[in-house]
Symmetry: C2
């Protein structure tokens, strides 16, 4: 399938595997090469072999450190000098704040008042300029516009940015370096930065690998976009997976419609059950968004049938006073 | 200091480092070599370098798999044929049930009705003969006596057994293989199986290493025994650290008084704060007992002063519906 029209519309060169390799070199001094965990009890339960890439152990507790760090360290001296800015209710804000502090430049993070406390506190701790705004995309964008106009900072979008997409793709690159014989790769999909970057890496590194995006049914714009071939809006997302409420962007959609094999959806109950299952069996802390691919196995939306599957566990920033099974 | 009298009293050869090396070979096919995690934020906070040996990722979710597996696979065919038995409110029961099923022999586990549900369910799932009894040491021992009389099974004590002590010591052996330059090793101490086995390994492998046992103030028999030089009882332990309510045994005390450098105690609030800190920073699930060495750092009972310290994170079996900070 050609997606030339989409690429032309954004008038830029989309991320290649070479960009991902360069991103990996660029960010190596600043982010962790995260471990890959396995679980014999989960392998038995799901009838295959699972390899969990633990981005919950990444700096700031999420894969977002990869993309933000690649974007910040891609800037030339002059643009970096003006600082960076974004709006975020979650891990991207902390990731950009960290990357900016590592480079020694300023950052402004617009954070809506309904952001999870654990995530907004992380932004404050990392020394960013914290800009509070009312909830809702329009308010967030208006507040960010004002910051950009006032400061001249460089906008780093949480996902619809080739530098960010290339950075996120390094997660799949590392996983396939450690486990070259994967038959299947699963990631959550919200805005699509992780899924698109990982799809580029996986399809370049492993012939015939299947790449599946996993999405909450209450925020199913990616599945609708993928199936219709047209970018669909997500006006009123309803899901406990707070990291997956965003909608695909033009760039992430362009990659996903070309390289991804399928997008499946799961219910809220399945997400919570999967989150708890990972805590109990892998003994690691993951956030709800992170559990969505495991939920797709629990629900039967994806079947392993003896295959080797990689799952990117995206993050572990969860409010321990408000666990979803309470 | 000589402890010949104590060794003579138990009339057996105490665990040597060679026993631990043999145990490591014996159990290697059945247990995990667990990873060692680090955290730059915790290193900064505590002023040193910390290496966490993650036995919460061990089979059955705790280091107890090591000792029980070594005991079960040390039995000759005839003794193994009669099966094994123990009483346990916690991880040792699941560990012995697993080891017996791996060897294909029968097991009987006496479990008091006040055992944590997460731990007793694990015993059931592993196919042991589950023998329920009323709480309290006397009831547990009486129920176990009856099982032993009825079945002829081999008793495998949770800690006061040289085979178990040697198995637990493999945790420190692996940690020092991975990080040979440790200045300090910290473990929790309840019955003392882990602390004594790890002390034998650490003192054999690393000249001058300091070994510190960490204990809840509400179950401080090990500290009192260590300081007085006489084995002290712990009639009424009160601590959230359910794995550390047991008292030292004759064998574990014999090793600890000789090889361990100090035993420190921590409060309940410090244990809970340390448990939460590990969940938040390391993104891993640990049980309260497991947090006690970190609590000793939080309280200042142990200071790193720039040193490299190994901590055995002992287990991750926690009831997710009853977290201690609720």
């Amino acid at each position: 399938m050609s997606n030339k029209a989409v690429y032309t519309a954004v008038a830029e060169r989309p991320t290649t595997f070479d960009d991902i390799r360069k991103a990996a070199e660029r960010i190596a001094p600043y982010v962790h090469r995260t471990p890959v965990l396995t679980s014999s009890s989960l392998d038995e339960r799901f009838g295959g072999q699972l390899f969990f890439k633990c981005e919950n152990f990444q700096r700031i507790g999420a894969f977002k450190a990869r993309g933000a760090t690649n974007a910040v360290f891609s800037l030339d001296e002059e643009r970096a000098g003006a600082g960076v800015a974004t709006h975020s209710s979650g891990n991207h804000g902390a990731a950009l704040a960290l990357a900016a502090s590592l480079r020694g430049i300023r950052s402004w993070i617009v954070v809506p008042t309904d952001a999870p406390v654990v995530k907004s506190e992380s932004v404050r701790r990392l020394g960013a300029n914290f800009v509070s705004c009312e909830p809702g995309l329009a308010n967030r964008e208006a507040a960010l516009e004002k910051v950009l106009a006032d400061t001249g900072a460089e906008m780093v979008h949480p996902y619809n940015d080739w530098r960010v997409i290339a950075g996120q793709g390094t997660a799949a690159m590392e996983l396939l370096e450690d486990q070259p014989e994967l038959d299947l790769l699963m990631t959550p999909v919200g805005g699509g930065g992780l899924l698109s970057g990982c799809a580029v890496a996986a399809k370049a590194m492993r012939r015939g690998i299947e790449v599946i995006g996993c999405e909450p049914a209450g925020a199913d714009d990616a599945q609708r976009s993928f199936r219709s071939g047209e970018l669909q809006a997500m006006p009123n997302p309803r899901t406990v997976a707070d990291g997956l409420r965003g909608a695909l962007g033009t760039r992430t959609f362009a990659v996903i419609r070309t390289l991804v094999d399928d997008i499946v959806t799961v219910s809220e109950d399945e997400i919570i059950a999967a989150m708890r299952l990972v805590w109990e069996r892998l003994k690691i802390v993951i956030e709800p968004s992170c559990a969505v691919p495991v939920a797709a196995l629990l629900s039967g939306a994806v079947r392993l049938d003896g295959r080797k599957a990689g799952i990117v566990l995206t993050g572990g920033n969860v409010d321990l006073d408000n666990l979803p099974w309470r």
